[in-house]
């Protein structure tokens, strides 16, 4: 059964591409949640905003993609800034209030985007040069997804270095643990809030620009991206870049290889996998120990 094996090998590769896409979506949420302790349910909205940006600006040329990336970055930073400003007055009020607020923002922004872009799913073409499929292990595979694996891998490395290998991370975690004490040391914690939020949001929006050819923008995508991201970061362990990567790759495989193996159980795989992980390790695979 060579054919069988070949087909599943491609599924595995696709699982990596899909997993890395999930990583770019999820890692910002993980940082904002795990490090800032802010549950930002409007995270999917940022992806959607990035994806719509890609739809509106990319015209199949490299320049189009570049412009979309720059604008997407700006959109993300702006969105992150606005969200940070929105949740700032909620400090110390717990996750539920944050959830209600950001979910409210997600609903409002979602509807505004539908008004602007209509209710259709808007498929977005990758740059012409990457639009084709190439033979891979005897099967046809879209070139864009292969390139995406590389780019997202790079992004993952960057994020890892920025947060797990520098003392920014320690300051951010300290702020979560006891904001007042950090302020009493002379640190303006608002800067940290805006910084981390902007960074996480920019990642999500850039993820949206890059991911649009894979998960196209449309109504309801914000919610789906949010749920996928939540699953990924909870499996991986909140606030851990490594965890988000591992969780994303795991879910990527579950959603491709797993589905290919037992298509009849496809709707149960995602949440089944999460249940399994959480039942065994409620704190996630890579828990950043937290009080």
């Amino acid at each position: 059964m060579i054919g069988w094996f070949d087909a599943h090998l491609v599924s595995m590769v696709d699982g990596v591409a899909y997993g890395l896409l999930l990583f770019t979506l999820a890692v910002g949420l993980s940082l904002v949640f795990g490090m800032m302790d802010v549950l930002n349910l409007a995270h999917g909205t940022l992806y959607l905003a990035g994806a719509y940006t890609a739809y509106a600006l990319s015209d199949g040329s490299w320049l189009g993609l570049l412009v979309a990336l720059v604008v997407g970055l700006a959109v993300g930073l702006l969105g992150g800034g606005l969200l940070a400003a929105a949740v700032a007055p909620l400090q110390g009020r717990g996750h539920l209030d944050q959830a209600a607020l950001t979910l409210g923002i997600m609903l409002i922004a979602g509807e505004l985007m539908i008004m602007a872009f209509g209710a259709e799913v808007l498929p977005t073409a990758p740059p012409q040069a990457l639009a084709d499929s190439i033979p891979l292990l005897g099967n046809s595979y879209p070139l864009y997804r292969l390139v995406f694996i590389g780019v997202a891998g790079l992004l993952a490395a960057l994020v890892y270095l920025a947060f797990e290998r520098s003392s920014i991370g320690a300051l951010v975690r300290a702020t979560v643990a006891d904001r007042d004490m950090v302020r009493a040391m002379g640190v303006d914690t608002r800067k940290i809030l805006f910084g981390v939020f902007g960074f996480g949001a920019a990642l999500a929006a850039v993820g949206g620009v890059l991911g649009a050819p894979i998960i196209a923008p449309g109504p309801g995508i914000d919610e789906r991206v949010l749920v996928l991201s939540l699953v990924v970061i909870v499996i991986g362990g909140l606030g851990s870049v490594r965890g988000a990567l591992l969780g994303a790759l795991l879910i990527g495989q579950v959603q491709t290889l797993g589905v290919a193996l037992v298509p009849a159980y496809a709707p149960f795989l995602l949440f089944g996998a999460m249940l399994l992980v959480l039942a065994l390790r409620p704190q996630g695979l890579f828990a950043v120990g937290r009080a």
Binding site: A174, A177, D178, R183
Partner: protein, 253 residues
């Protein structure tokens, strides 16, 4: 509401021309939590280079006063000046940058951070000065043995030492100590006394809240006793020692 029995205490607005301006000065302070007032019209002066001991029974508002000075509790009324600058209602980080450092009650170490990370961020965040990581580790060698422990994996006393080290690393000019000896073994309590003497010699001013009367009296040059949110007695330490009856009455010794 106010019944300060301070002889010659400066009432707000009276002014005391000629005297050197205190580094920290509190006038007519009203403060508390969410509608409930804890402090009623508190006046207090900390002279530059001085050590002021703030005493009182549980729940009289000592920590509330300290927190209000640090900017962690918003004052409802009154004035707080640090080195001549009005800071009432200012954000804590601004107050910290003016040179106020805090060892809070209950330690408040950062549970998920390692001890080393604590020192690291305090060193970066605070002002530069005499106190460096090496120096605090020399002062509190126990900390050096626990650098990799997370905040919540330290013993109570170790946490208290860390809280002191963290505050020193920000090189404040005014040090607020809220029950620094809490949970420390007697030998370490001596060290705290030494530290207070040392920082004073270096020109720092200290406001210390203490239940350990021995420690408080051994370091302070002035004593303020609070009762029910108001200052009842504000005297030089010698005068305090002379009037044991009054001390007993106010502190319930």
């Amino acid at each position: 509401m106010t019944s300060t029995s301070r002889p010659g205490a400066g009432r707000p607005g009276e002014g005391r021309p000629g005297e050197a301006d205190p580094i920290l000065s509190v006038r007519g302070l009203v403060s508390g939590y969410d509608g409930s007032r804890v402090l009623h019209d508190v006046d207090l002066d900390l002279p530059e280079g001085g050590v002021l001991a703030l005493l009182g029974r549980n729940g009289v508002g000592k920590s509330t006063l300290v927190s209000t000075v640090m900017g962690l509790v918003r004052p409802m009324k009154g004035s707080i000046t640090v080195a001549g600058q009005e800071v009432a209602g200012a954000r804590p980080d601004r107050i910290a940058r003016l040179g106020v450092g805090l060892v809070p009650q209950g330690r408040r170490v950062f549970a998920p951070l390692t001890l080393a990370e604590h020192l690291d961020i305090a060193d970066r965040a605070g002002r530069k000065g005499d106190w460096t990581k090496d120096r605090v580790l020399e002062l509190l060698p126990r900390l050096g043995e626990r650098l990799k422990n997370r905040g919540d994996q330290l013993s109570g006393g170790e946490q208290q030492m860390l809280a002191i080290a963290r505050a020193l690393l920000t090189n404040p000019t005014v040090l607020l100590l809220d029950e620094p000896s809490d949970g420390l073994a007697p030998s370490v309590v001596h060290q705290v006394a030494d530290v207070v003497h040392e920082v004073c010699n270096a020109g720092m001013s200290v406001l210390i809240v203490e239940q350990n009367l021995r420690l408080a009296l051994s370091v302070a040059d002035r004593v303020v006793v609070m009762q029910k949110g108001a200052v009842r007695w504000d005297v030089p330490v010698d005068e305090f020692r002379r009037d044991r009856a009054k001390a007993e009455e106010l502190l319930g010794i």
